[in-house]
């Protein structure tokens, strides 16, 4: 019975077992008093949310309009996902850590438990901010807790604050750009978000300014039965530059929680926006119980000539991911890149990709997508490249590779290419395979064990994307990748 094959099998089982047992290290719950409203969704709830946030009348109207549109819409079914029915009346649409005072004056006044949570998450809030050099806006459940580094940014004229603050302090900017990229009724989840969004980040870079630090937001769902609906709006004026980071975690719970965010990016003439996400929502346990439903709409528009947007995402969490960071290439000579690593394990399902809509002349887009599936998960890339009639000399290159670890998982590629002019060039290529025995053998005969060989190969496979991430994120992403995939041998 001790044939090499049996040994190998045993070893694989052992390794796989270790992987499935590796804990989600962000799965703690913070015992903190929170102020929530009743479960359920109706116009009164929306009025209540709006009132709690002291919003102007136009925003309430905007929300109600979105809600009415949402009611007439149906949940999308076209994705390669098995989404259990969601009871939208069983969700709390607003939950906030109870404040002891109306506003925090300094870090000392912030609930110590809350700070502790952020420390566990490794967010450079408080004293760490100087060391890390990152300005953080942390969104806890639905409310933005603290925005660091604000003074430094203010000097440059950069506005980086919670969405609610922006509504109070810069209503004209918010009103001008809100829903200018993602219309209220763009899709089911965007409409829901427009109706009930509770907070998020707002970022405005004035003309000619390069943001000296990387702006960062951390999202965390803490309270049970709540949904998180954050709204992010980034506006980069002419010739400005900003790099924006986003990270997310949630506690370990048996029931599923909904996260339906909307991110809009507007890049004016010559502006550059770099948006990076490490998405690590709770993925559910190894039987597929619990976890976050991550149904997110992200879209940017290169409004002015020579502008540039770059999306980089590392998707390791969530039980179901439905997410297509896209770009409308409107300005001539503008460009957009999409870099993605999506990892699914156990029972996770991901349907993610991008859309590149070329309208301006000489526009360029690049898509690099790396899918990694293990366990019993399903991982899909879905993308659209559209060259409209006016997009003369537009260029796209797409590469979507999938790596399969284990014979129970699935990897799928659904690219759509549409061209309507005679001067654009579109190239798409994709491969699907498992880690080759040759590569493994080579590493092992150089003295590495199987674990490390796989780690090395997977990291090498994802390198093209990880290289796009800012330093601190790249380190975290690499760690996440290793944790998610330890020992999954095909």
């Amino acid at each position: 019975m001790n044939s090499p094959e049996n040994n190998k099998k045993e070893h694989q089982d052992k390794v796989l077992n270790e992987v499935s047992n590796s804990e989600y290290k962000y799965g703690f719950v913070t015992d903190i008093e929170s102020e929530s409203i009743e479960k359920g969704l109706n116009e009164d709830v929306i009025r209540l949310i709006s009132a709690k946030k002291k919003e102007p009348g136009w925003l309430l109207e905007y929300r109600l309009d979105a809600y009415r549109k949402w009611k007439a819409m149906k949940s999308p079914t076209w994705a390669h996902l098995n989404i259990p029915p969601i009871d939208y009346q069983d969700i709390v649409y607003y939950s906030a850590p109870k404040k002891k005072k109306a506003e925090y004056e300094s870090l000392d006044e912030v609930d110590p438990e809350l700070l502790d949570t952020f420390n566990k998450l490794g967010i450079p809030l408080g004293e760490q901010k100087a060391l890390a050099g990152v300005a953080v806006d942390a969104v806890f459940d639905s409310v933005s807790v603290k925005t660091t580094f604000q003074d430094t940014l203010e000097e440059k004229g950069i506005i980086f604050c919670s969405f609610s603050e922006a509504v109070q302090n810069h209503p004209e900017l918010v009103r001008k750009h809100l829903s200018s990229v993602v219309p209220v009724d763009d899709n089911y989840f965007a409409a829901l978000n427009s109706a009930v969004f509770s907070d998020g980040s707002f970022c405005y870079i004035p003309k000619g300014v390069r943001s000296p630090v990387e702006l960062s937001t951390y999202f965390r769902i803490n309270a049970a039965n709540t949904g998180q609906f954050e709204r992010t709006l980034i506006v980069a004026e002419d010739d400005s530059y900003v790099s924006y980071l986003e990270g997310c975690t949630a506690p370990q719970r048996d029931e599923n929680q909904l996260h339906a965010a909307v991110v809009e990016i507007v890049a004016m003439k010559g502006a550059e926006v770099k948006y990076s996400t490490v998405q690590n929502w709770y993925p559910g346990n190894k039987e597929g119980k619990g976890g976050i439903y991550n149904f997110v709409t992200k879209r940017g528009i290169t409004k002015g000539a020579n502008s540039r947007i770059s999306w980089t995402q590392v998707e390791t969490g969530s039980s179901i991911t439905w997410k297509y960071p896209s770009c409308i290439l409107l300005g001539d000579n503008s460009s957009c890149e999409f870099y993605s690593v999506a990892v699914t394990n156990n029972h996770q399902q991901a349907d993610t990709g991008t859309k590149m809509i070329h309208i301006g002349k000489n526009t360029r887009s690049t898509i690099i997508s790396k899918g990694i599936s293990a366990g019993k998960s399903q991982n899909s890339y879905r993308g659209l490249v559209k060259m409209t009639r006016k997009a003369e000399n537009a260029r796209n290159f797409s590469q979507c590779d999938s790596l399969l670890l284990g014979d129970q998982c699935g990897a799928h590629t659904w690219p759509y290419i549409k061209t309507f002019n005679d001067s654009s060039v579109v190239e798409h290529e994709a491969t699907t395979s498992r880690i080759s025995e040759d590569q493994l053998f080579y590493c092992q005969q150089r003295g590495m064990d199987e674990e490390n060989s796989i780690r090395l190969i997977v990291n090498g496979y994802a390198k093209e994307v990880l290289n796009q991430l800012p330093m601190e994120f790249a380190v975290e992403a690499q760690k996440l990748l290793s944790i998610s995939l330890e020992g999954s041998v095909g």
């Binding site: 076209w78 390669h80 060259m387 009639r389 999938s402 399969l404 670890l405 284990g406 014979d407 129970q408 998982c409 699935g410 990897a411 799928h412 590629t413 659904w414 690219p415 759509y416 290419i417 549409k418 061209t419 309507f420 002019n421 005679d422 001067s423 654009s424 060039v425 579109v426 190239e427 798409h428 290529e429 994709a430 491969t431 699907t432 395979s433 498992r434 095909g490």
Partner: protein
């Protein structure tokens, strides 16, 4: 149905009603199992309706408008004595074939409806085979092309009355290619539902050439379904040539079922046609089966071509290769929809897919959707798709060698198409198609030449390159 526009729903209802009204005529004296299958199919059609933009697979091709005309539907075999050889002959040099013709959807050789040849091959009318070989037909008919697949397959299953039936016995190599010609000749717009069945026993081999032709320029709609069964070790070479007029709509659904060790190679060459939709569904149901699905399309004016390929890897150790190339001019539209499915235990699968397009004008459209759906880990799968133009550097090179713009452009398009033409393994056929591609690119090929293969055209086609300048 009148000439005003109808909704797909009304059209579907009218078609279903037409079946009910003519049930007796359609069923005639067919065996009970065929009758039952028709009843099931029309029920499924009532539920599904016509395929349209509500289905992902059909999003880019609208057939309802083509169906919305007052069509003549020949529900009974025309008993008028015709000599098919007078209407149509195929004389390609050095290309000897066994010719079976269909006229307006009916098997046309009235003197010998179904023949059993000395070597055991059975060739002839499907309707006649229903009656003479009910056991054999029952085993295969409607099995590989389930009426559940889509509305048009259901509709064909309900209405299909005749077509070609071919049976190749065990270990027999059929030396002469069988040429299947579907002719449309009528003074009315005509609606056709031809149905073909090819059964190949173990280790047999066959070459088929299937030509879709129009003789008169009359509007027609053909919703054909063909079923192919390749038992263990069988080999089929299948060439489909399409040269229809701009008023015709053709939906060809071919279902190939392959057992272990069988090999399939198909070439779909679309040169002209109003709306062409070629559905190829291949099920690799046994180990070491192999399928090469190749295609070339050269479209201009307002022509529309849609190639849909579904490759189902249901067994381990199979190989598949899809390769489609096309050139689009004027306002033509090309759709490619490839879907490779690798099922859970289909390990050691190799599956490749490629679609390359040259778009010559701003008004032409290309939509390409190469899908991979994979549930096994030990696989090598890849797909690639490109849309682009003729290489300006290559153009410059040719021009600098004294070749005029028109010729240089043609030479490059010819070279682009040659990759597909060169994969045709019958020499005579390859030469003929090569010749046709050149003519097509020069804009001299039209459907008024007698048939797809243009045997009567004696004129030699050559590039107008002045060798002295080279």
């Amino acid at each position: 149905m009148s000439n005003s526009h109808h909704s797909p729903h009304t059209l579907s209802a009218a078609l279903a009603e037409r079946f009910t009204d003519n049930r007796k005529v359609i069923n005639d004296k067919d065996p009970v199992f065929v009758e039952k299958l028709r009843a099931r199919a029309i029920e499924l059609f009532r539920q599904q309706g016509l395929p349209g933009s509500h289905l992902e697979r059909w999003r880019n091709t609208d057939i309802t408008q083509s169906l919305d005309a007052s069509y003549y539907h020949e529900l009974k075999r025309n008993t008028e004595k015709i000599n098919i050889d007078e209407i149509f002959q195929c004389k390609v040099d050095n290309f000897e074939t066994f010719l079976v013709s269909q006229l307006n959807g009916w098997f046309a050789h009235q003197d010998h409806l179904l023949r059993e040849l000395d070597n055991g091959v059975i060739v002839g009318s499907l309707r006649e085979a229903f009656r003479q070989y009910p056991g054999l037909i029952k085993k295969h008919y409607g099995t590989y092309a389930p009426p559940e697949d889509h509305g048009l397959t259901a509709l064909n299953t309900a209405f299909a009355q005749d077509g070609v039936f071919i049976y190749v016995p065990d270990s027999l190599e059929v030396k002469i290619p069988i040429q299947m010609v579907s002719l449309v000749r009528t003074s009315n717009p005509v609606l056709l539902f031809p149905r073909n069945l090819v059964v190949m026993e173990k280790n047999s081999s066959l070459t088929m050439v299937h030509c879709d032709d129009s003789i008169e320029k009359e509007t027609s709609f053909s919703g054909s379904v063909s079923e192919f069964f390749l038992d263990e070790g069988a080999r089929l070479d299948y060439y489909k040539l399409q040269n229809k007029d701009d008023h015709s709509a053709v939906v060809n659904s071919s279902y190939f079922h392959q057992e272990a060790g069988s090999a399939l190679s198909t070439h779909t060459i679309s040169l002209n046609g109003g709306i062409l939709r070629n559905e190829t569904r291949v099920t690799l149901n046994g180990e070491n089966a192999r399928a090469d699905v190749l295609g070339l399309y050269l479209m201009d004016r307002s022509q529309h071509v849609d190639n849909y390929v579904f490759m189902d890897h249901a067994s381990p150790n199979c190989y598949s290769n899809e390769q489609f190339k096309g050139i689009l001019d004027d306002r033509a539209k090309a759709v490619f929809n490839g879907h490779i499915l690798v099922r859970k235990d289909a390990q050691s699968t190799e599956a490749f897919q490629s679609n390359k397009n040259i778009q010559l004008t701003d008004e032409a459209r290309v939509v390409t959707q190469p899908f991979l759906e994979i549930y096994a880990d030990d696989v090598k799968c890849s797909h690639g798709a490109t849309v682009g133009q003729l290489d300006p550097l290559a153009m410059f090179y040719l021009r600098s060698r004294g070749i005029c713009h028109r010729n240089a452009r043609m030479l490059m398009m010819y070279a682009f198409a040659a990759e597909m033409v060169n994969q045709i393994s019958i020499h005579a056929l390859k030469e003929q198609i090569d010749h046709m591609v050149v003519k097509r690119l020069k804009g001299e090929l039209s459907i008024c030449d007698q048939c797809v293969l243009h045997c009567k055209d004696e004129r030699q086609v050559s590039f107008e390159i002045d060798m002295n300048k080279v």
